[in-house]
Amino acid sequence: MSVGEVLRVIAGPANGTDIPLGHSVPIGRAVQGPGALGGDEELSRNHACIALLDDGGYSLEDLGSTNGTYLNGWRIPASQLLSPGDRIQVGQTVLEVVLAPDPQRTVMRRRPVILADSPDAEELRTPRSKATLYASGVRKSYGELEVLKGVDLEIEPGEIAGLLGHNGAGKTTFVSCVAGLRRADSGTILVNGVDATTDPLQARHHLGIAPQDLGIYPTLSVRGNLELFAELGGLRGREVAKRVEEVGEALSLTPKFDAHAGTLSGGQQRRLHTGMAIVCKPPLLILDEPTVGADIRTRQEILDLVKGLAEEGHAVCYSTHYLPEIEQLGASVALLQGGAIIARGSIAELVSMYSTQVVELTFDGPAPEITVRGGEAVCDGSLLRISTDNAAAMAAAALGQLGGNAMRLRNIELVRPSLDSIYLTLTEQRYSSGEPAVRGDADGDGAPQIMSRAALQNSGLNFRRP
C-alpha cells in the first residue's frame, strides 16, 4: 500500500470523509465503521466490497445489492479492477479512488473478471457510448401495434436534440421508455450510463422530464411544487432552497412563490411545469412540447433556460412541433417517423443534403409538359414540379415556356430548402406516398441515416399533393 491510498467520499451522507485503503473495505448498511458511508439509506445491508489483491491492487465487487454498484457510470456485473481516479457509486454515495499511479494496473482497468459464457459477458462486449442518452434498437408494441420499430438515438452532454415527428410517430412512447414509465420490448437505453430497461429507478435519477401534459399540484404553492421535486431528485437542506430560488428566478416565478399553482396563468403554470423537471439539475433533460400553449414571453424564457442548461453540459431531448424553436435553440434534429429515426443531424447538415430547390406551378386542368434547361420537370395532374439549383431563375424560364398555357396558371410557388420543407418532405406530408415511411439504410448496416431526395425518389415514392 502506498501512503495516501484512500476512497474519498465526494457525494452522499458521508461527503468529505476519506476511507483508508490498505485492506479490504466492505460497504453496506450492516457494516460497522466507515463502510456504512454515514448511514446511506439506499445501501443494501451488504452492498459491495473493495478487495485488496495479492499484487497490491484493488477490485470492486457488488455483493448482490438491490440498487447496484456503478463504476464510472456503468453498473458492474462482476468484479472490476480499480484504477486511480475511478468513481464508484453505491446508493446515494459517490467515492473517488485515490491510488498511487501504476501503469501496469491502469492498462488492465475495466477488464471484467467474468466467465466468458455468463450472461454478462455478451453485454460487456457491446461497445458503449459516452452519450448521456444512448438508445439503440428500441422497440415497443401495444398488442399488434408496433409503435417503436428500432429507435436509435444518442445525445451527447451539452447537446440539444430536437425530436421531431407528427402526432402518433412514437415520440411520447419513446420518451416514456427512456423515462422508465414503459418497458421497451427490446433494445438498449442508457441514461448517463445506467441501463433504463433493467434499472429504471436508478436511471430516472439521472433525468428530468416535463411531460407533454401539464403536471403540477394546483393546491400547493409554487414553492411547494418545486421543493417536492427538488427533494425527490436528491437535493437536501439549503441546496433545495437555493435551487428553488434559482429556478424561480430563471422562470420569473419568484413573485408567485407563495401563490397556489392553480391560481397561476396558463403561461406561469407551463413555466412551473418545466421548472419542476429541471430543479434537480439532471444530466439528461427531456422536454415534451414544453411551449405548447405558452405565450411569447414564456416561450422565450423556456428556450433561454434550455440553452443555458445545455451550455452547462446537460443533454436535452426537446420534442416539439414548432420547428423555428429548433433553429432558435441551435439544436440537432432527430426525425421520428413510423416508429424509427429517419433523419439525424444538424440543421445545416440536413439542409445541405436537401439543397435541391423546387418550382411548383399549379394549373387549371392538366399541367402542360415543358422542357427546361437546368432542371427536371415532372407533371402530376394539375401540378408541374421542376427541380433546380436556382428556383427564381427557373421560375422565370418556365413562365417563358408556357405560351398559351400561361392563361391556365393558377399558382406558382418557389420551394427552398428549410427545416420546414425537409420535415414535410421526409414525413411525406408535402408529397405523399403509398408506401410507409422510409428509413434510410443505404449501406445496409442497419444504422439509420439521412436520405437524399434522390434516394427518396428512387425508393419508389411518388411526389403527389397530399
Binding site: 422530464i209 403540477i216 425527490l232
Partner: protein, 255 residues
C-alpha cells in the same frame, strides 16, 4: 424502498390532505352528531337484546366509528384519481418507485384514520357516557388493523376502477353494505338470518365484534386479537387483489 423518498411523499400527501381541512373536521363532527341522534334508538335495541345498564352509546359509538372509517374509501381513493387529473401521477412515478408512491400516499391517511377512530371513541365515551364492561384501552390495537384494512380496500378499488364515478359508486355501495350487514347500524343478532350468515364475510363485522366483546361483554385482549387477525387477513386479501390488477401505467379518468 428508500425511506427518505417515502417520507417526502408522505409529507407531501399530508400537505394535500391538510389542504382540505373541511373534510377532516366533517369526518369527526358528523359521526358524533349521528351518535347523539341514534343513541336512544340503539339503547332500545340493546335492551331488547338483553343487555342491561346501557344508554345506547355502547352500540352507537363503535358502530358509527367503524362506519365512518370506511368513508375514507372515497376520500383516499380520490387522491389517486386527483394525481391523474393533475398530470402528476407519471411525474411521481418518475421520481420514486411505485411502492414508495403508494405507501407514501397511504401513510398519512393511515395516521388520520387512527386519530379519527381514537378521537371518536374518546369523545363518545366522555360526552355520551358509554358504560363499557371492559377496558377501552384494549381496543387500541383495533384502530391500526381497521385502518390497514380500509386502506388496502381503497387501493384495491383504485386498482379496479378506471373512472372516479366507478370509484364513488363502488365505495358508497361498500360503505352501506359494510355498515348495515357488518353490525355498525344495528347489532348483528338483530339482523335476519341470511344477513347474520354472511356477516363474517364483511370486515366491519369483525371490528364490531371486537368492540361488542369488550364493551358489552367485558372480554379482554385475547378476544380483540382474533378480530384483529381477521381484519389483517382481509387487508392481505385486498392487497393481493390489488396486486393482480394494479398497473402503474393505467390511465384513470375523472369522469
Amino acid at each position: 424502498m428508500s425511506r427518505r423518498r417515502l417520507l417526502i411523499i408522505s409529507r407531501h400527501q399530508a400537505k394535500l390532505l391538510l389542504g382540505n381541512p373541511g373534510a377532516l373536521v366533517i369526518f369527526v363532527i358528523i359521526p358524533l352528531l349521528t351518535m347523539v341522534i341514534m343513541k336512544t334508538t340503539q339503547k332500545a335495541a340493546l335492551l331488547g337484546a338483553g343487555y342491561h345498564h346501557v344508554n345506547g352509546a355502547e352500540q352507537a359509538v363503535p358502530g358509527f366509528t367503524v362506519m365512518f372509517a370506511f368513508f375514507w374509501l372515497v376520500f383516499v381513493g380520490r387522491t389517486f384519481f386527483a394525481e391523474h387529473a393533475w398530470g402528476t401521477w407519471d411525474r411521481l412515478q418518475m421520481m420514486a418507485s411505485t411502492p414508495e408512491v403508494i405507501v407514501g400516499k397511504l401513510l398519512p391517511s393511515f395516521i388520520v384514520i387512527n386519530v379519527q377512530m381514537i378521537m371518536l371513541f374518546a369523545i363518545g365515551d366522555l360526552v355520551l357516557g358509554m358504560n363499557s364492561k371492559g377496558s377501552l384501552a384494549t381496543l387500541v390495537i383495533l384502530a391500526p388493523a381497521l385502518s390497514i384494512c380500509v386502506l388496502a380496500l381503497t387501493f384495491a378499488l383504485v386498482s379496479f376502477c378506471q373512472t372516479m364515478t366507478q370509484l364513488d359508486a363502488s365505495s358508497n355501495l361498500l360503505m352501506l353494505v359494510f355498515a348495515s350487514l357488518g353490525g355498525a347500524l344495528a347489532l348483528t343478532t338483530a339482523l335476519p338470518g341470511w344477513a347474520q350468515s354472511i356477516a363474517p364475510a364483511i370486515p366491519s363485522h369483525w371490528a364490531m365484534q371486537a368492540s361488542t366483546d369488550v364493551i358489552l361483554k367485558g372480554d379482554g385482549f385475547g378476544s380483540v386479537l382474533g378480530s384483529v387477525a381477521v381484519l389483517l387477513a382481509f387487508a392481505a386479501g385486498f392487497m393481493a387483489l390489488a396486486a393482480l390488477r394494479f398497473r402503474p401505467t393505467d390511465r384513470k379518468l375523472v369522469a
